[in-house]
């Protein structure tokens, strides 16, 4: 017996159903260098030392920070600096088909590269023999959750009062329907030709995360990189506003 999903495909490709032929507009109506709706809030949780909530398009992400604090597994501690640990996790209900709880290979990789993306910004040497724990929960996923998670984590670190060189901002660019575009939607990520998520410290332009998969010529890569950098700058402004809204100037 076979189960036929009458209109599941149609349902899933809603974001793609608005294809406007003959124009430069994207399936969801954005220009190639236009970001999705963006909302960032700081200080949204009670217990965490710092927290934040980020919406980018239909992505909904919470981040919480605990620390600097002592860890009981002493052999993991470093004598001259704090270690920053990160756990990226997706809620079972955050995606179309329920995700089994617990880490999988994707979340293990993203946790690792998120920690590496945040590391350069934090003055870890100020807190020897301690840990700073960053927890990222994806409540709803719609393409670009790793960038949303890094963006949220930076705001949570700032909300926790942890001294940083800059707030790391993250944004992807990529290629979809032959066009290099900023901030890929879920549909563009799945159906598109390439995805290039980056994270950076906007003040200096230093890139702290860089991944790519797909197919880009050198020229397209450079164009995409510049779009992603521009995206990070836009996001950076919203991060600063979120901190201002919470603490004033």
């Amino acid at each position: 017996m076979i189960i036929i999903l009458t209109s599941k495909l149609i349902k899933n490709s809603n974001k793609g159903s608005l294809v406007t032929s003959g124009t430069k507009k994207r399936p969801d109506g954005r220009a190639f260098d236009e970001m999705r709706h963006l909302k960032i809030e700081a200080g949204v949780l009670e217990r965490a030392d710092g927290s934040s909530y980020v919406e980018i398009g239909d992505n909904k992400v919470l981040a919480a920070v605990y620390g600097p604090r002592e860890l009981y597994v002493r052999r993991l501690l470093k004598p001259n600096m704090a270690i920053l640990r990160c756990r990226y996790n997706m809620a079972p209900f955050s995606v179309e088909d329920r995700k089994r709880p617990g880490p999988d290979r994707r979340s293990i990789e993203i946790s690792k590269i998120t920690a590496e993306a945040l590391n350069p910004a934090v003055f870890l040497e100020k807190f020897p023999r301690s840990t700073i724990d960053v927890f990222i929960e994806v409540l709803q996923a719609e393409g670009g959750t790793r960038c949303a998670g890094i963006t949220a984590a930076s705001v949570a670190l700032a909300d926790a009062g942890i001294p940083m060189r800059d707030m790391v901002a993250a944004c992807a660019a990529g290629k979809s329907e032959g066009q290099v575009v900023m901030d890929l939607s879920e549909w563009e990520d799945k159906e598109g030709e390439a995805d290039l998520p980056i994270a950076m410290m906007p003040r200096t332009g230093d890139i702290t995360l860089l991944q790519m998969d797909g197919h880009l010529t050198s020229d397209e890569f450079e164009k995409a990189l510049d779009l992603a950098i521009k995206g990070c700058q836009i996001i950076s402004e919203e991060q600063k506003n979120a901190i201002k809204n919470r603490y004033g100037d």
């Binding site: 189960i3 009458t6 949780l45 965490a48 809620a91 079972p92 955050s94 709803q140």
Partner: protein, 266 residues
């Protein structure tokens, strides 16, 4: 373990206040903290709710999936309740497989929903003995400020009342699922849970985080709309007397009437 170590001096001050009929946050002994409840907060989930009791915050998502019924109950659908005490929610929660507190929370919530007959599980059968709807109910605890049980039951009920499944028809040998005709899952009852803490010999409703840390015993009572009991769980390492149990049921019957006001109309 949820219970953290609390200095004896804090315990004393909480107990002293309660024995005077007062609480640190100014509430009456039988008074709940502010409750907020939103539904439909997660579009990717077929049903969802975000519930807050005080600062305790749980995001609940319900996702239906077609599967096979359990062999010993071929003619009813399946409900699977799962909870994660996220490490984000409290400094002493750890990542990893569900610990005993998390397992207990999921199982007690599941019993309240199941024995309280929230869902008409018989109506979730697609082909008897072969294909049924399974409802996965996931409790994502994002902020822990005491009294998870009541928040979990309230959030779960709200998420289920918000849940829609695609309609199915059977054509020959095949199940045809129509994602454009979403229908609410059949709701029969609306049980809720009320938790009372025994502190300094008194019963107080909706224990806060501070009270949770110092309580002697806890009793969570699941009640249907008519006040009949559908679930109960004692916690904590101090006993309760028969009379305390019966008194707790009476208080819970009053308080769930209040709690019920937070539920959105179906």
């Amino acid at each position: 373990m949820v219970q953290s170590v609390v200095p004896e001096i804090i315990k004393e001050s909480v107990v002293n206040l309660i024995q005077k009929g007062e609480r640190a946050d100014g509430r009456a002994l039988d008074q709940y903290r502010e409750i907020s409840l939103e539904t439909g907060v997660i579009k990717k989930a077929e049903g969802s709710a975000r519930v807050k009791i005080g600062k305790t915050q749980i995001v609940v998502g319900a996702k239906p999936q077609i599967g096979e019924p359990f062999p010993d109950t071929p003619n009813v659908g399946v409900l699977i309740t799962n909870s994660e005490l996220l490490p984000m929610a409290a400094p002493n929660f750890e990542a990893g497989p569900p610990n005993e507190t998390s397992v207990e929370l999921a199982r007690v919530t599941d019993r309240c929903i199941r024995e309280g007959e929230v869902i008409d599980l018989e109506k979730l059968v697609i082909i008897p003995g072969k294909k049924v709807w399974m409802i996965f109910l996931d409790l994502h605890i994002v902020d822990y400020d005491g009294n998870l049980m009541d928040a979990a039951a309230l959030g779960s009920l709200a998420a289920l009342m918000n849940t829609k499944i695609p309609s199915t028809t059977i054509e020959g040998d095949e199940v045809v699922i129509d994602y454009e005709k979403m229908v609410p899952i059949p709701i029969k009852e609306q049980p809720l849970m009320c938790t009372l803490a025994k502190i300094g010999g008194e019963l107080v409703a909706d224990p806060s985080l501070e009270e949770d840390d110092v309580l002697d015993a806890r009793i969570s009572i699941g009640l249907r709309v008519d006040g009949s009991v559908c679930a109960m769980q004692k916690g904590g390492s101090v006993p309760l007397t028969r009379e305390e149990v019966l008194k707790a049921i009476k208080i819970a019957q009053e308080k769930t009437k209040e709690l019920r006001k937070s539920i959105p109309k179906a």
